[in-house]
Each structure stands twice: as C-alpha cells, then as structure tokens.
C-alpha cells in the first residue's frame, strides 16, 4: 500500500505525536492563561479595553510573521512554535471569558447576593459556570488557531506534521503532500468536532439563561 509506505517513510506516527504534544501544551496553556486574563480583566474593568486591544493587535499579525518574530529570542524549534500558538490563542478565550462573565443575567447576581454569597463565591458558583458555554466557544476558536500555528512550526524545525508537509513541498513529492496534507486536515477537523461536541454539551448543561 502506497499510503502506508508514505506514512512510514515520513514517520507520520511520530510526527503526529510530536504535533499533538506541542498542540496540547500550547492549547492547555492558552486556555489557562486566557481564562485567567479574562477573569482579571473582568475584575478590573478599567484595564479591560487596553488588554483586549493588545491581544487584538497580536492577533492581527500574520501568524507566520509572529512565528518568525520570535526566532531571534527563542531560536528555532518547538519553543517559538508553542509560544506563538499561545500568544495567538489567548485572545478568543480571554474575550469570550470576559464577555461571558459580564453578560450573566443581573437577576442571578442579585439573588446570589441576597442569599448571602460573597463576590468571590458569586464568581465561582454563578458567573463562571454560566459563562462556560461561551468560554467553550472561545476555546474552539483557539483550538483551530493552535492547530494552524503548530503546523506552521514545521517551517522552523519544530517537528510535527508541518515538517512532513515541508519535506513534501521541497522535494515536490506529491504522495507525501497528499497523505500528510489530508491527514493534517482530517486531524484538525476531528479535534474541532470534539470541541464542538463539548461546546454543545455545555450549552445544554449551562446554557439556558
């Protein structure tokens, strides 16, 4: 089988693991940082606009430009790839977290206060759970961004599926491009679909308000 040959010669199993490894670290970090910043700007609305504008600016940068801008500081390889993915993916998560926390129906906040919840308890027990569907929406966008950037990492020697794509293009090896390209696409679509399922689950569980 040709596909199997290509798969083996390009070490696609290993590349997939490399890919998913960088992807998981980047997305996990972006999620933690993104939600964290979202909560911080929610608690300090004065800085919200500034912070969101900075994140917006980062996201206006072409992804590949952001990647190469980090090279002088971080060298080649996985490090700049992961950092660029994180920087790029924070915005959708932060924005959705911020909007989600802010747009919780006032009535629920009011009732929480009146039965004796402190502001921290309201944040933890009312605002965050009710913002989860929106946060999941941001997470899903971030997932797509992360996937895109990790793939670009192949261009700066980060490993992962981008490496196979790069090899294929440089050698004009049609089989490699097709197998690696389609597999990358399918993997991305599957991961996105999983995020979609999580999002709609949360919607059903927490979304009626």
């Amino acid at each position: 089988m040709q596909v199997v040959d290509v798969w083996d010669s390009q070490l696609l199993t290993m590349r997939t693991f490399e890919h998913l490894y960088m992807f998981s670290i980047a997305l996990f970090s972006a999620t933690i940082i993104g939600i964290g910043i979202g909560i911080i700007v929610f608690l300090h609305p004065k800085i919200a606009d500034t912070v969101l504008n900075i994140l917006n600016t980062i996201e206006t940068l072409p992804d590949i430009a952001l990647l190469v801008l980090l090279l002088p500081f971080l060298g080649l390889g996985a490090k700049p790839t992961i950092v660029a993915s994180i920087l790029y993916s924070i915005l959708p998560i932060t924005r959705n977290t911020y909007v989600g926390l802010k747009s919780v129906n006032k009535e629920y906040i009011y009732i929480a206060q009146s039965i004796g919840l402190s502001s921290n308890e309201i944040l933890l027990n009312v605002r965050i759970p009710m913002a989860l569907p929106l946060i999941a929406g941001g997470f899903r966008i971030a997932l797509v961004f992360t996937m895109g950037l990790i793939t670009l990492g192949g261009l700066i020697a980060a490993g992962g599926l981008g490496t196979a794509l790069q090899t294929g293009i440089y050698l004009y090896d049609v089989d490699t491009i097709l197998v690696a390209g389609l597999w990358t696409g399918v993997l991305a679509v599957i991961l996105d679909a999983v995020a979609g399922i999580i999002e709609s689950r949360l919607q059903v569980r927490y979304g009626i308000w």
Binding site: E107, Y108, Y110, I111, A112, Q113, S114, I115, G116, L117, S118, E121, N125, V126, P129, M130, R205, Y206, I208, W209
Partner: protein, 375 residues
C-alpha cells in the same frame, strides 16, 4: 468556614428614621418601623411606595442614607453583609433559581459554602422539600426549567429556609402566579408559617393576601409609612382616605344576604379542565406546562371532582388515571346565595367548591377566601 449565627431568635427588628434617596427621588423617608419577634408583618402599598426598598435595606442589599436599623438592638451596619444575609432568608417574585444547578444544588448552595457534608446537605434538602410538599425523590435531581412556576416558588422558599434563618424577607413571592395557584400557595404558606414560627417581613400589593397572611399590616405610600396595625384596626380606624381606600375592598362584601356565589368565585378557564381518562403522569406534565396545580376532572364533559398536583406527583409511578384518584367536589350554581353555599361546604367538611354556569364549569369557590372577605 462556617458562618457564626448572628441571632438564634428575633426579639425585634427596628428601623429608626431611615431615609434612602436616589438623586432627587426619595425612595424611603424618615421611616420608623418595628417588626416584633415572631410576627408576620405585611408591607403593602402602590408600586414605588418604598416597600421593597425598605425590605432590601434590612439585609443590606441597599444601604440607607440616614437612620439606623437594628436587629435585637445590634446595628446591622456592624455585621458583615454576607454573614448577615446568611442569617436572613430571602424570597422574591422572580424566584431566581440558578438554571445550571439541580434543585438539590440550588437549595444546598449556601450550606455547601458553609462547609456542610454531602450527607448533611442531602438530609436538609429532603427535609425542606417535604416541608414545602414536594417529594424529594422526584425533585432533588431535576433542573429548575423542568418545574412549574408553583413548584419553583416552593423551591425558592425552601432555599430561603436552608440555613434555618430566624428572619425571613419575602418580596411579593406569589405575585407572578395565576390567581388560583396563588390562593393554593397562600393556604399552604399559612400552614407552614405556624410551623416555622419565625419573624417574617412580607411585601405585597394584594390586599387580600395581606389580610389572609398578615398578623399586622403596614401601609406605605410616597416613601412613608402611613399606618400600621392589625387588619381590624385598619378597617375600623383608618388613619386617612388612602388607608380606607386600600382596605375598602373588604367593606363592600359586608352584606352577605345579597351576595351570590359568582361574586366570590375565582373564575377558571379550560386550562383547569382535565379528562378523567388522562393518566396521572400526563396530568402532572400538563400541569407543569400550564402552571396550574389543581384541575377539575370531567368524565364525558360531566365534572366528577378535582385533583391536585401535590397528590398527583405521588401517583405518577403507578398506572392510574384521574378517574381512579379523583376527589369529589361539591357543585354550586353561580346564582346560589353565598350563605347556602357556605353551609353546604361546611356540612361536607370541604374547603373547595366548583361553580357551574350553563352546564359548564366557570369558577372555583374557596371557603377560606370567602370567610376572609367577610371579616
């Protein structure tokens, strides 16, 4: 960390010269009010008269600009607001059950934050659900959206009682319900009110509700307290025109001989008519959807009695139809005299009658309701 109980029982809640202003608008002006330990005090008045503001100042959701509020002679400003609120139950019209939490989680929220164990919370929730006549098994793990308005309102009361607070604030808790369900819940509340034996401040704009539930009634208008007293005092010695206007509704029913059943009944629509062949389960479903908790059962278009939600939910796991469990109901014509209708009800030992007009059910006749209006 468990919150310390601020008071085990209420001796008095005292508002002295309390004023609250929003810009130019004065919401409450130099209010003096004393709620005595153990009583249910009603505040009634037109909207914007300051009754809700008064209520909210007691648990510091609103802070007064001037004046002092004390509970058992402690100034409430000396308490931490969160701790204060956990010592005061609060029920509002919009209920405000959290949609992402089950009934158990809703009622058990503050106990959980107080560090109770799972078992303690479950026990407490069960006890409270029993208390508000909802079976714990069928309700604990449901979400608020799966409940009817009346059921949600009962959960709202259960939640307010979760920490066993000695003081309860209620802001038009039955205001959003339809008139018949409202009467049912008022009757229920009247019974549990005796059992809980705590101090309650209750805001309403419905004078019937005030007379039915209140030990004393305070009448507010234009940010001031106009008069406060027992229902009898208000009726016999109204301070001014406004008070007599508000309590006047009572007086026109004084001449019992001229009154007919139709003057005192609560009208019903087709929503309240269920077919005898319906299963208990379907009946519960329909009641939940249409927000009623009582229905008249018709067999071939002939009324055979009534069923109630509280009774039906215990039957949903058995294969029964309404025909099997229907309770008989005395039937009156809308032109019957009140006196004879009352006598008939009393003889049968019931508290509810069905009113027919032109062969069709047209209303319900509540014994309590009539007696109250005839004070």
């Amino acid at each position: 960390m468990p919150t310390q109980r601020l008071f085990d029982r209420i001796n008095s809640v005292h508002l002295q010269q309390v004023t609250k202003q929003y810009g130019e608008h004065v919401a409450v002006k130099q209010l003096d009010l004393e709620i005595q330990g153990g009583e249910l005090l009603i505040l009634i008045g037109p909207s914007g008269s300051g009754k809700t503001t008064t209520l909210r100042m007691i648990n510091r959701l609103i802070e007064p600009d001037e004046g002092v509020i004390t509970i058992n002679d402690h100034n409430i400003m000396d308490f931490d607001p969160v701790r204060l609120r956990r010592n005061i139950g609060y029920v509002i019209q919009d209920i405000g059950l959290f949609p992402h939490m089950t009934i158990r989680e809703n009622i058990g929220l503050v106990p959980r934050l107080e560090g109770w164990s799972g078992q303690e919370i479950s026990d407490r929730v069960r006890h409270l659900l029993d208390f508000v006549s909802l079976s714990p098994e069928s309700f604990m793990d449901r979400y608020p959206r799966q409940l009817s308005g009346g059921q949600q309102q009962r959960i709202g009361l259960a939640r307010a009682l979760a920490m066993d607070p000695p003081l309860l604030l209620m802001d038009e808790p039955f205001g959003a319900l339809d008139p018949i369900l409202r009467k049912q819940l008022q009757d229920e509340f009247n019974i549990i009110k005796q059992e809980i034996g705590r101090t309650i401040l209750f805001v309403t704009h419905d004078i019937d509700e005030a007379f039915k539930l209140g030990d004393r009634i305070g009448i507010m208008s234009d940010a001031r307290l106009i008069q406060i007293g027992t229902p009898e005092e208000l009726i016999l010695h109204p301070e001014n025109e406004l008070v007599s206007d508000i309590v006047d509704a009572k007086k026109k029913f004084k001449h019992m001989d001229t009154l007919r059943v139709k003057d005192m009944m609560s009208p019903i629509t087709d929503t309240y008519l269920f077919d005898a062949g319906m299963t208990a389960q379907d009946a519960v479903k329909r009641m939940t959807q249409t927000n009623v908790e009582l229905a008249i059962v018709l067999d071939n278009s002939v009324p055979v009695g009534y069923v109630e939600m509280a009774h039906l939910v215990q039957q949903i796991y058995y294969d029964v139809t309404l025909r099997d469990i229907v309770e008989p109901i005395p039937i009156f014509s809308s032109n019957d005299h009140i006196a004879s209708a009352l006598e008939k009800l009393k003889d049968r030992g019931g508290s509810l009658g069905l009113v027919m007009e032109a062969e069709r059910p047209s209303g319900l006749f509540f014994l309590n309701d009539v007696l109250l209006r005839l004070i």
